[in-house]
């Protein structure tokens, strides 16, 4: 009798999504708890949301785990805000005051110099913050007990982030694909799962044609507005560029701002409503509710002007460098809205290409990944997520992030069979300091 020795069947690596619980319900609950606890629950709520989203991701049928704690995030936030950056910005302000006193604020070198300094400072630390946040999250992510980690230096990454950003702006965003791939290469090649590093081998040639076409279309669409602005262009464009950067930010930033709007309204209107019985609202209460609601709606429009551009516009107005009027405000709002919408629509083609290319370029144990996003699918995802965030005023942000994760994970594959026995636990310390920098600089912060 011949006995055939059976070879153990290799596990196929599949990626999937299996929601563990109702994330929308959790999101609303956390929103309420955040208000109730004067904001403290924000960190614990973030941890809970991440745990649910991570655990819904299935690799070979088993979930990712997120082991970070609210306490880590909270302590890191306190250190960054109150010990590092809070005093630092206060010091900058004092230096700014002294320089202005010495040279005078009408000195344009002082004025633009201080803007340049703050901008460069923010760019640099945004890069550092992104890297450190990713380092932290990888150390708190494991699969089958094996943790990830990142090597490399966040401080070095910050410099690369900064000078590539300067080049990007100087090139009117033409260098975007080069920069995107460069930064992703650094991040990816420093990422390890256990002791196994990822590799990244991407070619710019695959991305350039799509990007150039995208850039040309966008320029052609935006140029009539630039022409219309005419002689007002110079100071307004400075503000417009800063303002439109708002719209280039991930859409979920909007949801956070709009969440703040709702919370503001709740804090000031709701106590009055509760105090007066609903059926017997006093005229004063009615007026407060109406006035605050009108203000809230107005603030939605004002969202288009982020703090930096609003401050700049105010300063330029007071300095009489620009003369705002109702028509200009309307033009600016339309311009920002148009640019923002156009960018979102047009760039989904580019981003779809970028994501798919980056997946192909990423190798693990020599096997490439494959991602099958489409421009239309990405646009529908972005648009529906945007509406969810907008209509829930930010409360459903965990849900929209879960939807995004689901979208990408469900389209991800790896070419080849991974040998799990070779994915060995790393001896790198799992000590990590939270995401205080990311909180302070508001980057990629979920």
């Amino acid at each position: 009798m011949q006995i055939t020795e059976q070879q153990p069947q290799a596990e196929t690596t599949t990626f999937g999504w299996k929601a563990q619980s109702n994330i929308a319900k959790m999101a609303f609950k956390n929103f309420g708890l955040q208000l109730l606890t004067l904001g403290f629950y924000y960190f614990w709520g973030k941890v809970e949301a991440r745990q649910k989203i991570w655990s819904s991701v299935r690799i070979a049928g088993q979930p990712l785990e997120y082991s970070g704690t609210g306490k880590e995030l909270f302590v890191s936030f306190l250190i960054s805000y109150f010990i590092i950056f809070g005093p630092l910005f206060f010091l900058f302000e004092l230096i700014d005051v002294a320089i202005t006193a010495r040279f005078g604020a009408e000195n344009n070198y002082v004025f633009w110099g201080s803007i340049a300094f703050y901008t460069l400072f923010t760019f640099y630390f945004s890069g550092v913050a992104q890297y450190r946040a990713r380092q932290y999250r990888l150390k708190r992510t494991c699969w089958r007990g094996i943790y990830g980690h990142m090597t490399g230096s966040a401080w070095r990454y910050g410099w690369i982030y900064l000078w590539t950003m300067v080049l990007l702006l100087a090139s009117a965003f033409l260098l975007m694909p080069w920069r995107d791939l460069k930064l992703r290469k650094i991040m990816t090649e420093n990422t390890h799962f256990g002791e196994e590093p990822l590799q990244f081998k991407a070619s710019l040639d695959e991305l350039l044609p799509t990007f150039v076409m995208t850039w040309i279309i966008l320029f052609l669409l935006a140029s009539p507005f630039l022409f219309v602005l005419g002689k007002w262009a110079y100071p307004w464009m400075a503000a417009a560029i800063i303002g439109s950067l708002t719209l280039l930010r991930p859409w979920h930033y909007f949801s956070r701002d709009s969440a703040a709007t709702l919370k503001t309204w709740l804090y000031f209107s709701l106590p009055r409503l509760v105090k007066d019985k609903a059926s017997q609202l006093s005229p004063r209460t009615k007026m407060v509710v109406v006035a605050s609601t009108v203000l809230v709606l107005s603030l939605y429009i004002l969202w288009i002007f982020n703090s930096a551009s609003l401050a700049l516009l105010l300063k330029l107005t007071l300095k009489k460098m620009i003369k705002p009027g109702p028509l200009m405000i309307v033009v600016l709002i339309l311009l920002f809205s148009f640019i923002g919408t156009a960018i979102s629509l047009i760039f989904t083609t580019y981003y779809s290409r970028l994501y798919n290319l980056c997946a192909r370029a990423t190798l693990f144990q020599g096997h490439p990944f494959a991602l099958k996003t489409s421009p239309w699918g990405l646009f529908v995802l972005t648009a529906t997520n945007f509406l969810l965030a907008l209509l829930s005023l930010g409360a459903l942000m965990p849900l929209v992030l879960a939807r995004s994760t689901n979208y990408f994970i469900s389209r991800l594959e790896v070419g080849g069979t991974l040998d799990y026995s070779k994915i060995i636990q790393s001896e790198v310390s799992l000590k990590a300091s939270g995401e205080g920098f990311a909180e302070a600089f508001d980057v990629n912060n979920f």
């Binding site: 299996k18 563990q20 619980s21 708890l33 955040q34 109730l36 606890t37 004067l38 904001g39 403290f40 629950y41 924000y42 614990w44 745990q51 088993q62 785990e65 997120y66 700014d96 002294a98 202005t100 006193a101 005078g104 604020a105 009408e106 699969w143 089958r144 007990g145 094996i146 943790y147 256990g194 708002t246 956070r256 701002d257 969440a259 703040a260 709007t261 919370k263 503001t264 000031f268 005229p283 004063r284 007026m287 407060v288 109406v290 006035a291 203000l295 004002l302 969202w303 982020n306 703090s307 300095k319 009489k320 799990y420 026995s421 070779k422 060995i424 636990q425 001896e427 909180e439 508001d442």
Partner: protein
């Protein structure tokens, strides 16, 4: 010898075990026995026992959900780099005996998990609310403002002025300056206060006067054109000096910074315009209170300086008539709402306060010639460009 009894087999689930050393996994059978969780490895016929008291899970156990368990993290043995036990994972999909497991390991339940997080949260929030009330009650911002040295306050004030009026000319003429100085000196001397105040007229197109940190007062050209008597102007200056004496500009800046930080904190660390605007209502309310306080101090200055209060009353009467929406057009609700949104009490309210204050003796403030010179301060060809101190 298997220690799994026939009864225990009824409480068994299939599962997967990873040893924490590599990502490889083994198919196992997990049994909920009386003493511990028994993990049976069919390939090697070995049994690993995990005590219930040592079990932990990132997610509370719930019926109908997948569960994955690991042992509580111990302090890793320093010299033993091969101790991967804290990284080992046991994954159970669709195990029907979760309830039984929860009876053995109640710390893994949802209630226990919630309690661990929420109880300290409520204590922290209550403490923070209490501290906030205390800080608000003792007006911490004002205490900080008082402790700032004058030089620092003056620097900040100069910067505020420079930011608002740079590339603007300040109005200046020898006779106009002298007349303005006369009013200033009379108010300052009668106050017996150490604050000296500097007053300048700036070519700003808005009807306004404002006090900055460091006892600087700026009158707009439009304000100078609006006032019709030296007593009216003295009333405006006295009000702004009231702000300076009470350190309202300094307190306001510190307050605004604190509120901005507090709102970013409470509202979930949201950045951007809207979260900055989140402090707007509260600042507006605070602003009205400080305006009332400045009115009261200003009235005191006018009284001591023996400047007729009629001027200030005339000012608010005309301001109300020419620049505010008549009340008969607005409903009571609308007026109330506008008041909420205003940074100043309504002129009518301020006028009433002045009229209710008993009269005092007054002396002439400026001669007609001096007043004309002051009114013409901005039309002089010799205007001076702002210079930083």
């Amino acid at each position: 010898m298997s220690i799994i009894s026939d009864n225990d087999n009824l409480l068994s689930c299939p599962g997967h075990y990873s040893d924490g050393k590599s990502a490889d996994q083994q198919t196992v059978t997990v049994t909920i026995s009386n003493a511990s969780l028994q993990i049976f490895f069919p390939e090697t016929q070995e049994i690993l026992a995990w005590p219930y008291s040592e079990l932990t899970s990132l997610h509370p156990l719930q019926q109908g959900h997948d569960i994955w368990l690991n042992l509580k993290a111990e302090t890793p043995k320093e010299n033993d780099k091969t101790d991967y036990s804290r990284h080992a994972r046991l994954f159970l999909a669709d195990c029907p005996h979760i309830q039984k497991l929860l009876e053995k390991a109640p710390a893994l339940s949802l209630q226990s998990s919630k309690s661990r997080v929420l109880k300290p949260m409520y204590w922290i929030s209550a403490t923070t609310a209490l501290l906030g009330i205390i800080a608000y009650s003792i007006n911490l911002s004002h205490i900080i403002a008082v402790s700032l040295p004058h030089s620092t306050r003056a620097l900040i004030g100069d910067k505020v002025i420079a930011g608002m009026t740079s590339q603007e000319n300040f109005c200046s003429s020898p006779k106009g300056n002298a007349a303005l100085e006369k009013i200033r000196r009379r108010l300052v001397q009668s106050s017996n206060r150490p604050e000296k105040f500097s007053v300048r007229v700036a070519k700003l197109g808005m009807l306004n006067a404002f006090a900055t940190p460091g006892e600087r007062i700026i009158l707009s050209k439009k304000m100078l054109e609006f006032v019709q008597s030296p007593e009216e102007l003295a009333g405006v200056l006295a009000h702004e000096m009231g702000h300076g004496i009470k350190l309202h500009p300094e307190t306001g800046i510190i307050n605004a910074m604190g509120l901005a930080v507090a709102f970013q904190w409470v509202l979930g660390n949201n950045g951007g315009t809207l979260s900055d605007m989140g402090s707007l209502f509260l600042m507006m309310k605070n602003s009205r209170d400080t305006e009332r306080e400045a009115d009261a101090v200003g009235m005191g200055l006018l009284k001591k300086a023996k400047i007729n209060k009629k001027g200030e009353a005339d000012f608010y009467r005309r301001l109300h008539k020419e620049h505010e929406i008549p009340e008969d057009i607005l409903s009571e609700e609308t007026q109330a709402g506008l008041n909420i949104l205003s940074t100043h009490p309504a002129s009518k309210e301020r006028l009433k306060t002045i009229e209710d204050t008993p009269d005092w003796t007054s002396t002439l403030l400026l001669s007609d010639t001096e007043w004309k010179d002051l009114k013409a301060i901005c039309s002089n060809l010799e205007t001076e460009t702002e210079t930083q101190k």
